[in-house]
């Protein structure tokens, strides 16, 4: 006796996947069950109709465009780019009707290439002797070197494809820096099972989770023996680094997404969730929905592919669950492990004083706008102490004692005289004014791997809201010796500025870089 509500059974029957004996049972049941018989008949008819749907002919310009791109790549070494296709008449005209205009464009393109080649050939020929010219002119055109060897020679100069196999350091498999983490994760079967997924677990600074690193990890996940299209990324939470975790995870998953890896099942909607003011990077495995879904049930650690980067997972657990449900993420993993001791909290408060580079007045004059009123006078202590004194109670990392560049070869010309403020001066600030559209570019520039600045507030590229962020320049001075250029295209205050941020550091001219986001200046 079959279960008429057994969907798998009915599907297998519809698809002809059942053994004869079981199929006969289904048919027997259908004989006595009019509703079942009708449903099966309808579903079968629908399936047949679907399979009989006519195939459409692709527009002729489609493959033409691809071929043009392939030729362009071969000839010029330029990466292929989409070519705008004609729109609006494909259903009413045969593909051939679209060809003339596209062919014209293609011929124009090829004509341009031919003209360039002819010009190059002409220059070459001009340098030859008259005898050689005559000999060439008398040769058989059919045997004249034509585009074929030229094409081949150019093609041979093509750079290696981007996806050429790359050497992957072992650290990506188990980037566990502390014995506690290593022992913890080692007990998880998936970590040691190479057939499930590649693992990238790092408790290094999340700023190390850059696109390149995660891209490597993802390539590893795609490669044998893993052959996985899911990347499992474990990010231990760390207080004061939530923005960076979220941003790093966001960038990482974007790097692992289909935009970069077309095979990837990761899509943008998996990448970043927002709960209130908190940001979370998360990805769920589609495989999870084959399981009976138990709402609000936390499944064991790392059983599915999901990452939550959270500063304080405990306090947002219910929110996370709610968010996960509404975003079709069936599993939330909250890692409550303590942040690694190696990561120092660099949480710095937004200074209560906004004094500008030198003085509020000069900054105001330079900006042509009103500046906030300075806060109460800072205590008469050192400048660094002033900054700490203006802080809300948070751990402050002292400014490095050595501000000399780690790579002196990149050192810019020494400034004439460092601008040493009086000991009790408030922190000085470099103000960069950008709008929301510019911010990702600026952040990307300042935060790029190896020359990272720490964001004081939670601002992730592509996920910004009008607010202010403060970059702690001082604690990253060693990194800034790499010649990070100051983005002159952004309005800066005050002008003129040194060419690079490390010059700023060497001049000891600024304590803060503040980014003000102003969409409607």
């Amino acid at each position: 006796m079959i279960d008429r509500h057994d969907s798998n059974l009915l599907l297998d029957y519809l698809e002809g996947e059942l053994p004869d004996a079981v199929a006969a049972e289904v048919e027997s049941a259908m004989a006595n069950d009019e509703e079942l018989r009708r449903l099966i008949a309808e579903l079968s008819a629908d399936r047949d109709a679907l399979r009989a749907m006519p195939e459409a002919e692709p527009p002729g310009e489609l493959i033409e465009a691809i071929q043009a791109q392939l030729e362009r790549e071969m000839l010029l070494g330029a990466p292929p780019e989409p070519i705008p296709l004609a729109r609006g008449h494909r259903n009413t005209q045969p593909p051939a009707a679209n060809q003339p205009s596209h062919l014209r464009a293609r011929l124009m393109f090829l004509g341009g290439i031919a003209a360039l080649l002819a010009l190059a050939a002409g220059i070459t020929l001009y340098s030859l002797s008259q005898t050689t010219l005559l000999n060439l002119a008398g040769s058989n055109p059919a045997t004249t070197p034509d585009s074929e060897p030229m094409t081949e020679s150019i093609a041979q100069r093509q750079p290696a494809p981007d996806d050429a196999p790359i050497a992957l350091p072992d650290r990506h498999l188990a980037g566990l820096d502390t014995p506690a983490h290593r022992s913890r994760y080692a007990s998880i079967p998936e970590v040691s099972d190479p057939s499930t997924a590649a693992w990238f677990i790092s408790n290094a600074s999340p700023l190390g989770l850059d696109e390149t690193t995660l891209d490597d990890a993802y390539r590893l996940a795609l490669s044998p023996p893993h052959r996985s299209t899911n990347l499992t990324l474990g990010i231990p939470p760390a207080p004061a680094f939530d923005a960076e975790f979220a941003g790093a995870a966001d960038r990482a998953f974007r790097a692992a997404s289909a935009d970069t890896h077309p095979e990837s099942a990761l899509r943008e909607e998996h990448l970043l969730g927002v709960v209130g003011e908190r940001r979370f990077a998360a990805v769920s495995s589609e495989a999870s929905d084959s399981r009976p879904q138990a709402a609000n049930q936390f499944t064991p650690l790392f059983e599915q592919q999901l990452v939550v980067a959270s500063r304080d997972g405990t306090s947002v657990e219910s929110e996370l669950r709610q968010w996960a449900q509404s975003n079709r993420v069936s599993l939330i993993q909250i890692d409550r492990s303590e942040p690694p001791a190696a990561i120092e909290s660099t949480a710095l408060p937004v200074p209560s004083t906004t004094t500008g580079w030198e003085t509020p007045e000069t900054a105001e004059a330079a900006l042509g706008r009103s500046m906030p009123e300075p806060a109460a006078a800072a205590p008469s202590v050192s400048r660094r102490s002033t900054r700490a004194a203006s802080a809300t109670p948070q751990k402050i990392v002292p400014r490095p004692q050595t501000s000399a560049p780690a790579e002196p070869e990149a050192a810019p010309p020494a400034p004439a005289a460092p601008q040493q403020p009086p000991p009790d001066a408030p922190p000085r600030r470099l103000l960069l004014q950008v709008n929301t559209a510019q911010l990702p570019e600026l952040i990307g520039e300042l935060q790029s791997p190896g020359r990272a600045l720490r964001l004081q507030q939670n601002i992730a590229p592509n996920r910004v809201s009008p607010a202010s962020a403060t970059l702690d320049l001082a604690t990253q001075s060693a990194i800034l010796t790499r010649g990070l250029p100051i983005p002159q295209r952004f309005p800066l205050s005050p002008a003129p500025l040194p060419a690079t941020l490390d010059q700023l550091v060497q001049q000891d001219a600024v304590d803060w870089i503040e980014v003000q986001i102003r969409d409607n200046p």
């Binding site: 195939e55 071929q67 290696a160 981007d162 077309p262 943008e268 909607e269």
Partner: protein
Amino acid sequence: MGEPLAIPTSDAEGSAVSADPACKEASSDPLLDRAIDGDRHALGILLSRHQKRLYNTVLRMVSNADDAAEVTQEAMLKIVQHIGGFRRDAKLTTWMTRIAMNQAISHLRKRRTRDTVSLESTGRGRTTDDDQAASLRAALADHREPSAEHRVETRDIAERLQLAIDRLDDDFKAVLVLRDLQQLDYAEIADALDLKIGTVKSRLFRARLTVRELLRKSET
């Protein structure tokens, strides 16, 4: 670099395309080898063989010829960019289909202007055993026999089918398109969509029920 091959300017192998390009991708397909090695002529031939299948896959997903052409072009450019990383442990057809599907789904999710059938009300996206059984029960309990006068011509059926497909959730639509229109087997669909076979079957049956429900509504 091997001997240059002529790139067909049209779908000269149209019949082969419709038949099954996968049959051409034997494990030792020299054309594929050359394409992987950077031979763009060989890649052009491969793409011309697969373009019709890819285009139709995308077309059924996005249901707009203009969008389908653009999305297919984007997918093919992705293939061009990443063919060097293609691993022979997967079928080229499946690999290309996965790329095309990813492009199509990304396109749909960006577009998001079309109404989709609310599978959520009965378990959108995540089909559980319970809600699937409930839908099945509802389908079985519907006693209406479609009358003969409601049957329309084949062309109209195709149109209504496409409309029904359009209203499916992307995840369900993808499974249905690959199964019925591309006639892939469960394992191939699972591979192309990075799903478990159980998920594929669950979504397929769910999609079939939903399409049936939509067609019933359109018939009445």
